[in-house]
Amino acid sequence: MITKKVSKKDIRKLLTAWNQECNVIVPSRVDGVVGMAAWDNQDISFLDWYRNTVIPPKSCFLPKSEVMMSFKKNENGLKLEVPTGEHWQVIFGVRPCDARANAIIDHVFAVTYDDYYYISKRRNTLLVGLSCTNPYDSCFCTSSNIDPTESEYVDLMFTDIGDDFVIEDFTGGGKALLNMSNTVKKVTRADIDKAKEVKAAAVGQVKKTVDMEDVDRKLRSLFNDRDYWERISAKCISCGICTFLCPTCFCFDINDEMIRKEGARYRGWDSCSFRSYTKMPMENPREEKWRRVRQRVCHKFEFFPMNLGINACVGCGRCIRLCPVNWDITQVIAGLPVEAGVKSGK
């Protein structure tokens, strides 16, 4: 790994250089909502206000809705068209929690199964991470073993040391990006020390913590405890915010839309919080709210560890921050009965 630096006042130049080779995606605030959007070749004010997005970066690979194929009826039958355009893109400003989240979703769409639509976007994307030094009060990434300033899931990692960003590169793609601009300079020992200082301080900024020890076993033994799940799900209103805006939730639904003789097949987000989820083959097996809440919690903290050995929550805190009723997952984890893990014995 080679460490470099770039001056903050050169960021526009750097992004401009990248933008000539590929699409540059940056944090953007449209009508007050922060998401990732194509850079306008100009505005870098996000460096001042950006903390994290409302819409997680998963939407760059699994958008809220996308065309899988379009179809048109003509005299010869049916003409099908699958979107093929693959574009190189760089996403600038991915936080370490979301970078790991992308790696978790990869298991679903790129490891256990090759999903054309996901992979065609993901494999053409370079991720530029940005150390997180001003987390929200809902953030608890450190409890999920994530350092808010480190990531092995990005191509480059930027850390703000005042007038400059210290840049660590992790991949060939990252190196290539650095070679595109002469704004990238050598670092001094003092820069590296400053970056270390900033990183050490950032970890302490994450104030919310929760003990994840044994969570999967505790949940396994509580699985059939209906009273427990009814109690903790009582205030949930069954909307889709926590799942849609979760960087690791990936459920989708497929629908055909047709007007007259043409239309398209769309894929869009779906949520296990909905009563109408998985209704297609029959009725929803999780008709009652407590079963749906249980599914969401157990999928992240019990089934993922069981199947892949990883916990699927990165502690980004969106589900807490954006929840209409402040349903707080950390409270639920912290409140799991201690004896629950012991009872199951494993």
């Binding site: 809705s65 909307c239 889709g240 915010i241 839309e257 769309y266 869009g268 707080d328």
Partner: protein, 316 residues
């Protein structure tokens, strides 16, 4: 106020008058509260009353079985009454713990005003008609009207009219009807094509999380039309046209049931100004039918009754 509420709630549970108390407790994040649903009288000691109790708890009356003691602000009490009118709940099953309300803090307004996000703001204190915002060592005093929710500025019932117990406390009248309708007036001044472009942009962001519908006590349909598949009225794909149709139908559907509690707009994670639709419907209902939702539990629901004096310009 809080002490009186806690005592009353504990008493109701102890005497067995209600099975559950539905109120507000402190939230886990700064300047937030969370619904508290409990059958444990000791838990009532965590009930709070403050300017952040945004949720309309009437929505829980639809789903929790048993007798409920519900903490209700004016607008929430109107939602409860409306549900009684619509025969979704029965009056005997609900004990209304009415609380006076001087308006709630719109955190987005405070964020905009201070240039800081919610969790970066140390304190937000209401002192009569002023609000003091503290960030670090800096204190800033603004008139309450600048940071209250738009719907609170148009509030028509600060003290519940229908209640079983009324907690005593101040209800400062901080009213600004013009500000309450400002966004709507802006929209009305647009040319139709501008307005169309505006809503297209807004609804392009919609992610169809249905939080607006789920928090709304007036949205009590067992099966929502958006989920019907035979026939299908609207696509489940979050395309802006379908998102707009969903919301337009919802606005019409809750007309006469909406109490302008503002929850739909508050909870929207992508900040779609939904109240611009619902408040316009609310005011139209008032103008056309001289009807105020949820003010009289004995009155028939708006859409089930007809008076000869009503405006029917469509037919005439």
């Amino acid at each position: 106020m809080e002490k009186e509420l806690r005592d009353q709630a504990a008493k109701l549970l102890e005497e067995g008058t209600v099975d559950f108390i539905v109120g507000f407790a402190a939230g886990t994040l700064k300047h937030t509260t969370t619904p508290l649903i409990t059958g444990d009288k000791d838990a009532t000691s965590s009930l709070v009353i403050n300017p952040f109790i945004s949720n309309n708890l009437a929505t829980y009356a639809l789903e929790i079985s048993g007798r409920l003691g519900i903490v209700a602000k004016g607008c929430d009490s109107r939602s409860i009454v409306s549900l009684i009118q619509d025969k979704q709940i029965t009056r005997q099953d609900i004990v209304i713990l009415g609380i006076p309300c001087s308006g709630l803090i719109d955190l987005k307004k405070v964020e905009k005003l201070s240039g800081k996000e919610r969790d970066e703001i140390d304190d937000i204190a209401v002192v009569e008609d002023k609000v003091v915002i503290t960030i670090g060592s800096e204190k800033r005093e603004v008139t309450a009207a600048t940071v209250l929710f738009d719907h609170c500025l148009g509030c028509e019932l600060q003290i519940p009219q229908e209640y079983d117990f009324l907690i005593q406390g101040p209800a400062n009248e901080i009213r600004d009807n013009e500000a309450s309708r400002e966004k709507i007036q802006e929209l009305k001044q647009m040319f139709p094509d501008q307005r169309w472009a505006y809503w297209k942009q807004q609804f392009s962001r919609c992610i169809r999380c249905y939080a607006c519908r789920q928090v709304c006590p007036a949205c009590f349909c067992e099966r929502c039309f958006v989920e019907e598949s035979q026939p299908r009225w609207v696509s489940p794909v979050s395309l802006w046209q379908d998102n707009l149709i969903f919301q337009a139908v919802r606005a019409i559907h809750v007309a006469g049931r909406c109490t302008d509690c503002g929850e739909c707009e508050r909870v929207c994670p992508v900040d779609i100004p939904l109240r611009s639709l619902s408040k316009e419907m609310y005011d139209l209902v008032g103008e056309m039918f001289d009807y105020k939702t949820g003010m009289n539990a004995g009155a028939p629901p708006l859409m089930t009754a007809y008076e000869l004096t009503e405006v029917e310009s469509l037919i005439r």
